[in-house]
């Protein structure tokens, strides 16, 4: 293992574990400013996590073992996913590979475990959110695979995230229509996957409109801390993936790391701007929204076939 790989390993763990809540908090802070409020501090998520970690858990009376296991399963799936995703075009060898499909599978595991926990409480609001979340996931997963396919065409159809971020290096990939379409489609599905506006409102306090927040309603204490960290980590992973797959990162590892960090910061600002400008859309419009991303991918594929011929 080279020094750069070790550095990447540290960045993977430190970024996923420590910096993930910062990204979410910073977006909240920026949103507050953009909306003319002072907004919470960017460090607020850390304070929330510390507060939750010290609290005792309250458990709904009907809940069983699957409800109790779900937060740990969700957090474990997200942590392992953070080990799979390379940072700055490199990844340490954690023994879990670095395959794009594995990341998608781990995100599905987290979603499935949370939905099962909602069934275990027997309460309607959690299931309402979980059912919507799993429905969106059907479309999101299909489009995500198309994005991977498009991004991988440049390197012989690889799904290796390290090879994919290598292929994105420099300005050359942006000469192909496929790369533009894949980038735009990824931006759309990432919003759906992380539950940001206009797909879902992460700040909602109304049970009937909840999607991702619904199954979290019953949790408290350390369990809730795990789940809130996992939600932040999901956002972080999508940002890092976007930086890896679509930022033209070249040069030595430190430069690429700095560029990746800058890309993540820019994307946070972009999310804050979108969330200020756009309202949440009707739930049944979401599959159309994601389907549009899928159509973009197919256009990109057609473009790359024409260009390649």
């Amino acid at each position: 293992m080279t020094g750069a790989d070790a550095g990447a390993g540290v960045a993977q763990v430190a970024g996923g574990l420590v910096l993930a809540p910062l990204a979410a908090g910073w977006i909240q802070h920026l949103k507050g400013r953009l909306q003319g409020r002072r907004g919470p501090s960017a460090l607020q998520p850390y304070r929330d996590l510390r507060r939750l970690w010290g609290k005792s858990a309250v458990q709904p009376s009907a809940a069983g073992p699957l409800y109790r296991a779900a937060p740990a399963v969700v957090a474990a799936a997200l942590l392992v996913a953070a080990l799979v995703v390379p940072v700055g075009g490199r990844a340490a060898d954690w023994g879990v590979g670095h395959d794009a499909l594995v990341v998608i599978g781990l995100l599905a595991l987290a979603r499935g475990a949370l939905a099962l926990s909602a069934w275990d409480t027997g309460a309607g609001f959690g299931l309402l959110g979980a059912g919507r979340d799993l429905t969106f996931a059907v479309f999101v997963e299909g489009v995500l695979l198309l994005v991977v396919l498009l991004a991988g065409r440049a390197v012989g159809g690889s799904t290796d995230l390290v090879a994919l971020s290598g292929a994105a290096a420099g300005g050359a990939p942006w000469h192909s229509a496929a790369h533009w379409c894949a980038g735009a489609a990824f931006a759309l599905v990432a919003l759906a996957e992380t539950g940001r506006q206009p797909v879902d409102n992460p700040d909602t306090h109304l049970e009937l409109t909840m999607v991702h927040e619904g199954p979290l309603l019953e949790y408290a204490g350390r369990d809730l801390a795990c789940l809130q960290w996992a939600a932040a980590a999901r956002l972080w992973l999508m940002l890092v993936l976007a930086a890896g797959l679509f930022a033209p990162t070249t040069g030595p590892f430190t430069a690429r790391l700095a560029l990746a960090a800058a890309t993540v910061a820019v994307l946070c600002v972009a999310i804050a701007l979108t969330e200020t400008a756009l309202a949440k859309m009707r739930i049944l419009r979401v599959p159309v929204f994601v389907g549009g991303a899928g159509a973009l991918c197919l256009i990109g594929l057609a473009g790359s076939l024409v260009q390649g011929a």
């Binding site: 458990q59 009376s61 027997g122 799993l134 049944l284």
Partner: protein, 615 residues
């Protein structure tokens, strides 16, 4: 039950020996009509799959049939069914193959008729036999044509290949339950006794796929590109439509039967990808797609057998298989319940279990098909990849719903509230199945190279704890299991240490959580049904009874009709009946007319012979 189980294990041992490199045993394939038996790598793999399902099915059958009136004939029929399945795999000539093939179709039908005698079941068995025989004629046509050209065991010339392939696709496709030829499957599998359903869903459809594999990759090889596109299209259609219809089912075994259609679709799509990749001169990825199809075959056989046995146990214990009348069984039946959780997670393709490894491989195969330079292949591969990924998402929705309705929450009927755990033999069968879900997922790296060796050509795939395929970020099967387990354990310890306050009622906006407020499966899948409304066309019925001072009662009924039945098979059946009515006019009942027909036939034949038409 010990003797057949021991026999199955013995055969399984032999199959492992053949796969491990002992080479083929017995006679090779030949086109003459002398009955011969033998076993080569592909047969051995499928024989292993059959034995792996037969042993748990028999173990559970002993418990489930205890005290049943037709116990002995049913168990004998089950064993004979297993032998017929093995017979198809071991046949090395056309006569033995077709004989065993017919037995394989008839024996489960007999078992269903012995176990249940009501009218609806007789009708279902009729549909099953009619469809599989009409479609199954394709198998006869394909094999007899192959034998005529001396091509059983050898490759066929170019001329009759198309005919053989079309016949084989229809014949084996019907038996495998590929859409749109699947119509018998969701009818027949639920009515059989659970251990027979397990064998039908777990292995009988796989034996049909075995026949398809033989024709595609050996006897009619090299399969042309159109066959690849047909397989890919039919496979993705079966996968997506199968799981969508599984989602809207209300009965546990019917849901599982539709899920079989889905998984057969995934396997067939992988075979299509394999054909196209071989035709595009990419033998390594062709072999990987081939191995993906086989791995998913093995996975699905193991998981579906276990799920059907669990369904049988649940039906026995709770007295119903209606999903909305179960619930809370994880507490009442922990062994069955936890096995079912593992099975659901595995078949939904969640890491690190068996379904994830095989679906990962299938998706990689279609993805690499999509990244080729041929435009048609690339578009087909991309669409198939998106379709199969959506299938995986739908499967999560479907099996989360199943596990939630059956195992979690409060009991939704008195039967479910008083369910008792099943006896030890069934428990052992279920737990073994759950263990296999984990083991198959973790051992994917060791198994795939063995499966890839069975593919045509001599491309090799390197294995190991993490399956490092070229052009992928590797499938870290063992690594994922260990990493997830480790982090999960640490987090459970950390969160478990926090003080726990007393329990509180679940939050329902301050209301009490009453049984009438319990969430339903229909509610859970409502967003998806709304999204797919234009395709599914659900039927709704709302009846509001007004009383004094307001609405007294509301009755709501919703149903998703099976559109293949209504729009494809119903017109076909009507047409067939109309044709029969016309044909009946020929039958006047008068002897003289019949003599006239005979005379006309003889004269016609003589005329033809004279003209040289029959020379």
């Amino acid at each position: 039950m010990l003797a057949p189980c021991a026999g199955s294990l013995l055969i399984a041992g032999g199959a492992v020996a053949v796969l491990a490199g002992a080479g083929p045993a017995g006679a090779p394939f030949h086109s003459t009509l002398h009955p011969r038996l033998g076993l080569d790598g592909l047969s051995a793999l499928f024989a292993l799959v059959v034995c792996g399902s037969v042993v748990p099915a028999l173990a559970a059958a002993g418990d489930a049939m205890a005290g049943a009136p037709a116990r002995r004939p049913l168990l004998a029929l089950t064993c004979a069914f297993a032998l017929a399945l093995l017979g198809v795999l071991a046949a090395r000539d056309v006569v033995t193959f077709l004989g065993a093939w017919e037995l394989m179709t008839l024996l489960p039908a007999t078992a269903i008729l012995v176990a249940r005698r009501d009218r609806a079941v007789r009708r279902t068995v009729f549909v099953y036999l009619a469809t599989t025989h009409l479609g199954g004629a394709g198998v006869w046509v394909a094999l007899l044509l192959l034998a005529q050209h001396g091509a059983v065991g050898a490759a066929l010339g170019d001329g009759p290949r198309t005919l053989v392939l079309v016949a084989a696709l229809v014949g084996f496709g019907t038996k495998a339950g590929v859409m749109p030829l699947h119509v018998w499957l969701p009818r027949a599998h639920p009515v059989a006794p659970s251990h027979v359903s397990a064998l039908m869903s777990g292995v009988m459809v796989k034996v049909a796929l075995y026949g398809l594999l033989r024709v595609l990759f050996e006897w009619a090889a090299p399969a042309p590109r159109w066959a690849g596109f047909v397989l890919l299209g039919a496979g993705v259609l079966s996968a997506v439509a199968g799981i969508v219809y599984a989602l809207v089912q209300r009965e546990l075994k019917r849901l599982l039967a539709f899920s079989t259609v889905e998984n057969v679709g995934i396997i067939v799509a992988a075979l299509g990808a394999s054909v196209l990749l071989f035709a595009d001169h990419r033998p390594v990825w062709g072999s990987i797609a081939f191995a993906a199809a086989l791995l998913h075959t093995v996975t699905h056989a193991v998981v579906k057998t276990m799920l059907f046995l669990a369904a049988g146990a649940i039906g026995h214990a709770a007295g119903t298989l209606e999903l909305e009348r179960l619930g809370g069984l994880l507490r009442r039946m922990p062994w069955t319940g936890w096995s079912l959780v593992a099975g659901c997670a595995a078949i939904a393709g969640l890491p690190p279990l068996a379904g994830f490894s095989s679906e990962w491989l299938v998706l990689e195969a279609t993805l690499h098909l999509g990244s080729g330079s041929r435009a048609a292949d690339a578009v087909a591969g991309a669409l198939a990849t998106a379709g199969l990924a959506a299938t995986a998402g739908l499967a999560v929705l479907c099996f989360v719903k199943l596990a939630g309705l059956v195992l979690l929450g409060a009991a939704r009927s008195p039967g479910a509230a008083e369910a008792q755990e099943v006896p030890a033999a069934t428990r052992a069968a279920l737990v073994t199945g759950a263990g296999a879900c984990v083991a198959l997922g973790a051992l994917a790296g060791e198994i795939v190279p063995v499966l890839a060796r069975l593919a045509p050509g001599d491309a090799t795939v390197a294995g190991g704890a993490a399956l490092r395929l070229p052009g992928t970020g590797s499938l870290p099967a063992v690594g994922l299991l260990v990493a997830l387990g480790l982090v999960f354990g640490l987090l459970r310890r950390a969160t478990g240490r926090a003080p726990r306050a007393a329990t509180a009622p679940a939050w329902t906006c301050g209301q009490r959580l009453e049984p009438a407020l319990a969430y339903t499966g229909a509610g859970f899948t409502k967003p998806l049904r709304l999204v797919l409304e234009a395709v599914l066309r659900p039927a709704r019925e709302l009846e509001v009874v007004d009383g004094v001072g307001g609405v007294r009662r509301i009755r709501h009924r919703a149903e998703v009709p099976h559109r293949f039945d209504e729009e494809l098979y119903a017109p076909l059946a009507r047409g067939a009946l109309r044709g029969a009515a016309v044909a009946r006019r020929l039958q006047s009942g008068s002897l003289r007319t019949y003599i006239l027909y005979m005379l006309a036939l003889v004269i016609g034949l003589l005329a033809l012979a004279r003209l040289g038409g029959l020379a």
